[in-house]
Amino acid sequence: MENNQYVIGVIVSNISGVLSRVSGMFARRGFNIDSLTVGETETSGFSRITVAFHGDEDLKMRILKQLEKLHDVKEVEVLDPSDTVIRELLLIKVKNTPNTRQDIMTAVEIFRAKIVDYSTTALICELTGETSKIDAFIELMKPYGIMEMCRTGIVAIERGDNCLKTR
């Protein structure tokens, strides 16, 4: 069975409970999600949810149709990965020691990350990029001692003038 990653953009009414309706639907239908993010849109009263999951075409269709059934869901679209800007933000706190400091800073430079906090014992790096880039950076930081980290999950928007909007 094919196992692709899909990214879906969902426009929902910005009212209380809507996130739990969407995430609850995924949970009770047994659809596993890789990431789910939510935030405001250019239009007040609406939020945009970006959901990423792995599965086959069949699963994708089932998820799409179940999303479309929810009363608060106004628009759903599968984003074409080859024509979509997909980004994720990582904040990662790594041990700061005289022996490792230079290596970390080199990696930060190569990955075009930023150091956003510096103390004698710890560094916080900020990185945006596609999931694979974030994963690679985390892997690279492991030997230096990751103290804590958090990542946002992906947000995505299609290239060109094709827009996901409420009709």
Partner: protein, 579 residues
């Protein structure tokens, strides 16, 4: 002029054409009940014995008429008691609006007395739900609730109204008409043309329909279509009553306990045309094996049902009546003598198998059941049989009487055997399988239509919500309760007999309930029947009685529901006889 939120609720219900609500009062709906009292000449409130019964009554009201059923309960336990009733309606696509009170907004989230997050609780079992925290939004929210409940594939909607919203004042202007449903999706011409082509190429088409044909008011269109293409029809449990049972093309329910000819004809078909059905596991059995021999055209108003359980060869989203009418205009009129000959063979075979099963020498072992049958020492041939009971009832009942069932063996016997004539005359919990559904639903159906309800139930199911006998008595409901009393939880016992080495774990009831005395204690009339004669005489009384009448029928605990496709099995594993 400003009026209270509670009055806005009542005025909006009346505006929406609601003549009856079912419910139970409590602290957080006391204002709402005050307004119901003041408007009692314009809207009827039926007090149930328990909120679950009220919810089933609203469901029965809706199923019997197609109108939106309304139920009202208080916060906390009142609201949670509705949940099974709401879930029952959700799984069977029944239009319902449930209104709950809640603690004032300032107390929400503080675990106040009788506070529960009913919106959170019912999210997975409603089409949508609301909590109204601003009286200005109350009327429109209720209107939207009705709109959602009756649009497309119908379903329940819950509106939770905190007490301070009920007491707050706001202006209200009644709309001249109830809200209209959202416009339905209509099937695409291209897809219907493809369907017509597939049907015309098929040699052995079989129509499989579900409850969508009833809620889509498509019975007449379905019959015309079936006659036009000369295809046999079978249905799911939910499809029963859409087509008269004696229609020459109708083979009956198929699936786990479906008719032999119906299930086998489906398997031998080269094309199955599925209409308003969801291919539940009870209908398909083993999904790998299910559609090995045929292609599928699936038409449903809900696109999420298409390719959900079974992948079809052509899936069409659209209003079922419209789709059938247009498809009939495109499809080629055909006669299929070969296929019909085969169908007739299957019907004959079904008859033979049934006769064999009924005459089967399977030793009925009553030693560990508490049913009264063996206490009477009646010889086997004089005892009541499940089909005998159904036949005796149908011989006396009218075509417009509403047949209701609980859940279990009696449900399947009634579904297999009862000769139905008109849509919306067979109410049963098909999707959720709610034991205890029947009595409330039977009361609601009678109140909605004024027609007699006949409930087939078992001693297990009846025991779950028999408190609604109190409601039937207080409302003077002409409901005949036919208890197939076998002293056991027969459906589970049947599985234990067949698949669990007769380990009758917790299915032998060992109760000493006297249902006649019990009914009389509630103020209802009742009789007991061990034999056909006793049953006939009890029915004679029951059909002339204006209130509820309970008939306790003794049934052997080792009666089986047959045929049976074992769970997860297929047509190859069909059991038509117990040896």
């Amino acid at each position: 002029m400003k009026i209270s939120g509670a009055k806005i609720v009542v005025e909006t219900l009346i505006e929406q054409g609601c003549d009856t609500v079912f419910g139970y009062p409590g602290g957080q709906v006391i204002n709402l009940f005050d307004e119901l009292y003041l408007s009692r000449d314009r809207i009827r409130h039926v007090l149930a014995a328990h909120e679950q019964g009220a919810a089933h009554a609203a469901d029965g009201y809706a199923r019997a008429t197609g109108k939106v059923g309304v139920v009202i309960a208080t916060s906390g336990p009142g609201a949670t008691n509705l949940v099974t009733g709401i879930a029952t309606a959700y799984l069977d696509s029944v239009p319902m609006v449930a209104i709950t009170g809640n603690v004032p907004c300032s107390l929400i989230g503080r675990d106040s007395f009788q506070e529960v997050d009913i919106v959170g609780v019912t999210m997975p079992v409603t089409k949508h739900n609301f909590i109204v925290k601003d009286v200005r939004e109350l009327a429109d929210t209720l209107r939207t609730a009705f709109k959602i409940a009756k649009s497309g594939r119908p379903g329940p909607v819950l509106v939770d109204i905190p007490k301070d919203v009920q007491t707050a004042l706001w202006g209200f202007e009644a709309k001249p008409d109830p809200v209209r449903p959202y416009p339905p999706t209509f099937a695409s011409d291209m897809k219907l043309r493809r369907a017509a082509e597939m049907i015309s190429k098929a040699e052995r088409p079989y129509i499989y329909f579900g409850g969508g044909v009833i809620s889509g008011k498509a019975s007449a269109a379905l019959i015309r279509f079936a006659e036009l293409i000369d295809a046999p029809m079978g249905c799911s449990l939910m499809g029963l009553s859409a087509v008269p049972s004696d229609h020459p093309l109708f083979l009956g329910m198929n699936g786990m306990h479906g008719h032999y000819a119906s299930s086998v004809a489906q398997d031998e078909a080269d094309l199955v045309i599925a209409l308003g059905a969801r291919f539940s596991d009870r209908a398909t059995g083993n999904k790998e094996r299910f559609n090995k021999n045929f292609s599928i055209i699936h038409i449903d108003i809900d696109s999420a049902e298409l390719d959900k359980n079974i992948t079809s060869d052509l899936s069409v989203q659209g209003d079922i009546r419209d789709a059938l009418e247009r498809l009939s205009a495109m499809a080629e009129e055909k006669k299929r003598p070969e296929w019909n000959k085969r169908i007739q063979e299957l019907r004959n075979e079904e008859k033979e198998r049934l006769e064999r099963a009924l005459a089967s020498s399977y030793e009925k072992n009553c030693s560990n059941c508490t049913a009264a049958c063996d206490k009477q020492g009646l010889p086997a041939e004089q005892r009541l049989t499940p089909y005998g009971i159904v036949d005796a009832v149908s011989a006396k009942a009218g075509d417009s009487d509403i047949i209701v069932s609980d859940v279990g063996q009696h449900q399947m016997w009634a579904a297999q055997r009862y000769p139905l004539k008109r849509p919306r005359t067979f109410l049963t919990s098909g999707g959720l399988g709610t034991m205890g559904y029947g009595l409330g639903a039977a009361i609601g159906a009678n109140i909605a239509t004024g027609r007699r309800s006949i409930l087939f139930t078992g001693d297990g199911s009846f025991g779950m919500n028999l408190n609604e006998l109190a409601t039937a008595v207080s409302q003077g409901t002409p409901v005949i309760v036919v208890i197939m009393n076998n002293g056991v939880l027969g459906m589970v016992r049947q599985w234990q007999t067949l698949f669990f080495d007769k380990h009758y774990s917790n299915t032998t009831l060992n109760r000493a309930t006297d249902f006649v005395k019990l009914a009389e204690a509630f103020g209802a009339k009742a009789a007991r029947a061990f034999t056909k004669e006793e049953l006939d005489s009890a029915l004679e009384q029951a059909f002339t009685c204006n209130g509820p009448f309970v008939i306790d029928c003794a049934v052997d605990c080792d009666e089986f529901v047959l045929p049976m496709l074992p769970p997860g099995g297929s047509i190859d594993d069909i059991i038509t006889e117990i040896k």
